[in-house]
Amino acid sequence: MSETDQVASLAALTVKAATAYGRPDLAGIARRLETEARAPVARVAVAGDFKRGKSSFVNALLDTDLCTTDETVATTVPTVFRKGGDTSAVVIDVEDDGGETAHEVDPTDLRSVHLDPGRAQRIEIELDRALLGLGIEIVDCPAAAGDGHPGRAATVATARESDAVFYVTGATQPMNRFEIDLVEAIARVCPQVTVVMTRIDIAPEWRRIRAIDTEALERRGLSTEIVPVASPLRLAALARGDRDLNAESGFARIVDLLRDGVAARSAGLHRTRAARTLGLISSELLEGLEHEHESLTSSEAAERELAEVTEARKAVEGLRQASARWQRLLAEGAQDLQADTDHRLSQLGRSILEEATEQIDTIDPGKDWETFEPWLREQMVERVEAVFNHVEEELLAIVERVSAEFGERSVAITDPTDRAGALDELEVTSEFDSDKMQVLGSGMTALRGSYSGLLMFGMLGSLFGFALLNPVTVALGLTVGGKALWDERSRLVKSRRAKATAGVRQFIDQAMGAVRAELRRTIRERQRTIRDAFLAYAEERVAAADASLLKARAAAQATAQERNRRRADVEAEIGRARELHRMITTQLGAES
């Protein structure tokens, strides 16, 4: 039995046990773990600058020629590779209502696929490859150049949503500043970054280049591994079935990283979390049964139990009321966050406008617009990204506050003291987030949605352009010579600056309007998701409390003889629950 199957079947067992013992709340949590265990997908992003051999790397890795390596066509959307049967490809478009539609395209001729610039989100390709069968999906990001390049923001956003990133650079030259910057930015949002150094087959000095790159990365405090590879060697090795050549191509290490590092790690992360949670659930089931066993010793004990359970039922009932404190906390939290975000955005818009105006005063917009515009866009993307980050952090804080309202039991699931354990043990910060989101089900996926907003913003920036500033109104009196020419020029520059400032103001207003709407939507949707998840959890808790109430009532009304019989039953149940707990502890290595 594979490790994931083991987790899944133990989770399934726990679901049964929890249902049988009248604990639908715990059964719900175990059921979500089971679902996750059955489909753990690790996302691996492949990023890099233009012409560094990124697409060739993906092609060689997956033994395909689907990635466009054509020098003149720059892919503008990410390409996602997943495990499938026959090779197929779809283009995913976003519709006006925010929904997505897919239409099939010919996978062997992707370069001629028409991508609707405003709508096309990504290309998804299904391939029958054992590597993808490990539970990995590979995302080939559009090339990302230096500051202000739209590909850069998209790459960082994709990295944030990925479990690991391969950053591709070439062995024929050391990494430049923009590349080092980008690796640093990626490492901030995705801890598992590997630098892939391609073209070692044609770079005599690749070992030196690697040393230079390693040093440059270390100077930024990055201890990123650099894996040297040669894509043509891998393809030759696959064609000949030559194991040695494959090792020489460097791809053996890449595959190891994917299998043992990414896939296993991602499964391992899930396993550790599942083990801990299942351990908690089974011991809680056990405690409940022991408690029941205790209450069956005498009619006094049974009466005491009934009183306790009735009290607990009342407390739990409060949780599902619309007037529950957690509901208020959530609503107020979201409202405050909304106001705070609006404030941040308008401040941000003002400060960008100020800086942009300052910039414009030093340039001739007619000439320098091509460099100014990317600068402006980069400024906005960077700061808007910071606001999105802030929103994510605040939402997590709200989730924490809300879950505290659910008392000790749910805290056991989102126990803050567990975090350090999780961190030390796993050294992966993203795990921290998913742990907290446990009640909401599949942790990170809940987070993923909101970044489409950021990606959308990246594209938005390019839509506006600067059509209104086309310098058609260039002076005609060129032959006048002498000073007249210069005066005329400076007058024109002034008028262009004024136009540019007005254009920029309009651009910022429009962009900020779009961002504000997107953030509102995000916050509202996330608030709803959180509320629904906790409401469902509250229902489960009430159902569990009802079940215990029934049991306690029965115990209180029962005769001594009935109690004894019931006690014998419970004793047997305790034996079974112990066995479940033992299985979870020994097979999954969970702490009791």
Binding site: S56, A145, G146, G170, D201, I202, K367, L478, G482
Partner: protein, 484 residues
């Protein structure tokens, strides 16, 4: 009597200098100093774009150090000299002679001078290829150390004591830093702007992963780049060059030719196996050389050069080192760069100098003084060549109402964007016969006159057409200029 604009300007500059004092005077004196100097052509680009390698290929000798790391850290100016001499120029303009060794390449000892106190290094080198032009090697942009990149930008774009006349700009791909630089260069150098850049897609052999067809690949990339308006604003066309191949071809030695021949005679399987990757080439037991020889061959040819060279020496037509050298030179793309430099820069030396002088003078109060003003106006009214450059500068990267892209290109060509030689202005294949030039010129002249007079032409279009017509009239008056 013809009006010699170049000498008129020279004497005007001298008189203007006498009529001023302070900063303006210093500026003018510097201008006079440089007025008759050879053209200064800078080689600039991103870090590791292959600038030093291209420099060496253009000089035909390995002077500048080239290796895998970032090696050019100080701006270095190469000029023709009577003997070998290396001098450091500091920021106050003082010169300090430096020690150097001539090993594989030139090795300069800074001897206690720090990099930051040196404005640039001047290398005097007795080479024919440096006659009439100086070549300037610059540190790369996008260096991990921002200072080093700033040195290049400073040298090329500010009021440097050594203004550059033209730049050969090396790109490895369209890159934002490239464009930043092009913009900075463009802005700071507007005075002689329009004509001044040749775009080069460097390290063309690596673009196709070192495959034998890599240069075709590079050719397509170059075309694609040249279609980008942001690139077009500074350089009309982009030429792919395999710099390492060009450098090695220019300095190919007999023993290297012999080595390639030895590789060619290896068994087919052994050879393709050994040429699969650098590590295989270095370790394959079938290769009949010592490790040091293999390393040197790799450093000189690169994988692409080895694959190509080994294939070429098998052919009859490349049965000597000289023949192989010229074949490799032709394949490297360097000849096109040479040709562009000659056609566009060398042929425009006077105009570029007059234009730079006009720009400086126009911004000084002295130009309003009676004597100077009159002579300045006289020069200005005879400076059609200069206005051609101004116009080209302003036409760059924009559209003109009523002018199709094709027609706009014809206009720019007529104004001399491809070089001032008649065949280049008329878009004729060279060599051309005198009558062809005249026929073609009159025909095109009629076309532009009609456009200029057409009632529906906008004032701007009429103006542009008149300028083109004037260029053609000048051409018809003296059609005997050599083709280029």
């Amino acid at each position: 009597m013809t009006f010699d604009i170049r000498s008129e300007m020279r004497s005007l500059l001298a008189d203007a200098a006498l009529a001023t004092d302070g900063e303006d005077r210093t500026t003018l004196e510097k201008l006079i100093d440089q007025y008759d100097q050879p053209l200064r052509i800078a080689i600039a680009g991103m870090i590791k774009a292959g600038k030093s390698t291209l420099m060496n290929a253009l000089v035909g000798q390995r002077i500048a150090a080239t290796d895998a790391g970032e090696c050019t850290r100080i701006v270095t100016r190469y000029q023709r000299g009577q003997c070998y001499l290396v001098t450091a120029i500091d920021h106050s303009g003082d010169a300090h002679e430096l020690r150097f060794d001539r090993g594989e390449t030139l090795e300069i000892h800074l001897d206690g001078h720090s990099e930051s106190e040196i404005e640039h290094i001047r290398v005097d080198w007795p080479s024919e290829r440096l006659s009439g032009r100086q070549l300037i090697d610059t540190p790369g942009l996008g260096s991990i150390s921002e200072d080093v990149s700033q040195r290049s930008i400073h040298f090329l774009t500010t009021e440097s004591d050594f203004p550059t006349d033209a730049v050969v700009y090396l790109m490895r791909h369209r890159h934002p830093a490239n464009v930043d630089f092009l913009e900075a260069f463009h802005g700071g150098f507007a005075a002689s702007g329009g004509m001044s850049a040749i775009g080069v897609l460097s390290r063309a052999d690596e673009l196709g992963g070192g495959r034998i067809d890599s240069l075709d690949t590079a050719g397509r990339v170059a075309e694609h780049m040249a279609a980008d308006p942001r690139v077009t604003r500074l350089c009309q066309r982009v030429f792919p060059v395999a710099g390492l191949l060009a450098e090695t071809a220019a300095t190919l030695r007999q023993d290297e030719y012999a080595s390639l021949t030895a590789l060619n005679t290896m068994g087919e399987d052994d050879r393709s196996n050994a040429l699969l990757s650098v590590d295989r080439f270095l370790t394959s037991t079938a290769v009949p050389f010592e490790v040091e020889t293999r390393e040197r061959l790799l450093a000189r040819f690169g994988m692409y050069g080895l694959r190509l060279g080994t294939q070429l020496v098998g052919a009859q037509s490349h049965s000597s080192a000289e023949q192989l050298s010229s074949e490799l030179t032709a394949r490297s793309g360097i000849s096109e760069i040479e040709r562009e430099i000659r056609a566009r820069f060398d042929a425009r030396r006077s105009v570029l100098r007059v234009r730079a002088a006009m720009a400086v003078l126009a911004s000084m109060p002295v130009v309003d003084e009676t004597d100077i003003a009159g002579r300045f106006e006289r020069i200005a009214s005879n400076a059609h060549d200069v206005y051609e450059l101004d116009l080209l500068d302003r036409l760059r990267g924009r559209t003109v109402a009523g002018l199709s892209a094709e027609r706009k290109w014809e206009l720019e060509r007529t104004l001399g964007i491809d070089g001032p030689a008649p065949n280049r202005r008329l878009g004729l294949e060279d060599p051309v016969v005198g009558n062809d030039v005249l026929d073609s010129a009159s025909e095109q002249l009629d076309g532009w006159r009609r456009t200029a007079e057409h009632p529906l032409s906008s004032p701007e279009l009429s103006h542009l057409s008149r300028m083109a017509a004037r260029s053609l009239e000048a051409l018809i008056q003296s059609p005997a200029q050599p083709s280029a």
